[in-house]
Amino acid sequence: MPRTSSNLLVLRTPEGITFSLLLASPVSRCLAWTIDEACIFGAWGLTRQVVSAGGWLSPGLIQAVLVVGYFVISIGYGMACEWYWRGQTVGKRVMRLRVMDEQGLHLQLNQVVIRNLLRVIDILPGFYMVGGVMCLVTRKSQRLGDIAAGTVVVRQPRLIRPDIGQLLGAKYNSLLAYRHLGARLKQRVPARVANVALDAILRRDQFDPGARLEVFADLAAQFKSVVVFPEEAIEQLSDEQYVRNVVEILYGSVNGRT
């Protein structure tokens, strides 16, 4: 059952698993469309060059091929690309967007054809005015073609296989020597506080330097108030490194690195 939360399309599978898709913004879709228009223009120019080079064709036939060619390219480009690349055109590939079934199922050929045919209404009265307004006012950022075809355009962030173990275990952890204190830490620190600390480490580069110092100082103080490690274990440790060591204990084995 799909529902939306700001720019997320949240889907719940029959097994009760919830996952979310990041809906594409009208701006990113507009940029993708601009690239696609350039591609259509390029393909049309190439077709004109190739057809015009065919000296054995009569001028009338060349003109006829060009007239039909433009129509076919402008209508068929989106259909062909989205079907062949499973919901992507050149513009969408560049902008990391993808057309998907709004229920998270397979994109069908019918859906691809319908959303591209109904573009003739979405572009009215010019520059995708109708489609743009619809994207802004609908919950799933759908233009009319998307509503009729039952599709959404989602953003596909660059995915990296997780490797948190390496991130956490990069340096010597002086706190690991005190196993009983580590066990007490795991017992006393609430899961949500542990999550905040892990988040802070993973997103450290997104903070301003001042804010980063403040966040890690607060977290370190919070952990120090829960369990007190001997002075020699925390000597010369920055707040950030202290938090890293604590998180490694919280998310790792009590006995040390695994």
Binding site: V68, V120, A191
Partner: protein, 331 residues
Amino acid sequence: MIIDLTKFLNQEKDSWKRLETTLDTMERQPDRRMTLPELIEFHELYQRTSADLMKIATSSSDPGLRAYLENLVARAYGEIHETRGRSGRMRPIHWFTQTFPRTFRAHLGAFWISLALTIAGVVFGAAALRFDPEAKDVIVPFQGLRESPSERVHREESAANDRLAGQKSTFAAELMTHNAQVALFTMALGLTWGIGTAASLFYNGVILGAVGIDYIQAGQIRFLMGWLLPHGAVEIPAILLAGQAGFLLAGALIGWGSRETRRQRLRQISPALVTLCGGAGVLLIWAGCVEAFLSQYHEPVVPYALKIAFGVTELSALSLFLARSGSNAAD
């Protein structure tokens, strides 16, 4: 709950990688059929990764890991839960001769509405011109159709040269694309709950009625029939089919008396919508060729009787095709 993240990652990463590889293979080779053991493994991997996502959702908020697992689960979900038939090998002849006429017959009501609106437009256009001849300039948008029918017939029949010599292909191409655009708009305007489709069909009928009565009043019925029937016998039904598709779309949006959601209704009609548009497109290609290569030639080059007979034959064949073709075949 705080899970041992390092241990968790080490334990599960192989199955995630295996699921990712399986999904990549499925997306690269959509026609490939999996063996039963492969299917069982795929389902197990999906369930295992889904369970991992649940664990992560309650124990860790690492956005990268969560996004990675959500992506895997979303892709696998699409593969496992899709119940609609996969679009297999293209069979254009089967589609045109079987699927298209069957689809037309399955939604006949929408076609009758299209036809009724067009006839209403014809009557209105004819009546408007009958009672107010000055209205011709307003109703008929094309400059070429505004001249006196008698003058046109005289000019066409006495022409010594072929005015389309060397341009027939271009003319046919322009007609095809123009008519296809009209049909496309007629269908797409179904999004306006059918109001736009109805207006488009009615307006087409008005033009047809006005032009028809103009030639009839001038006593040029044979010319009119010989000029319009060869291509109109296919072109007008094609526009009506586009209107049928538009009303189908409008019906799904409105959903009178339906207990299904709008999404379900749209999903149900989408194959019919595409088929009707495709069928109308094929008919318009034929109509464009006929209009460029036959309709524009008049007596003494081509006898009117021959052109009228051709048009009547086309209309009969098309009616028979839409009424009977594919009726005995199992899909």
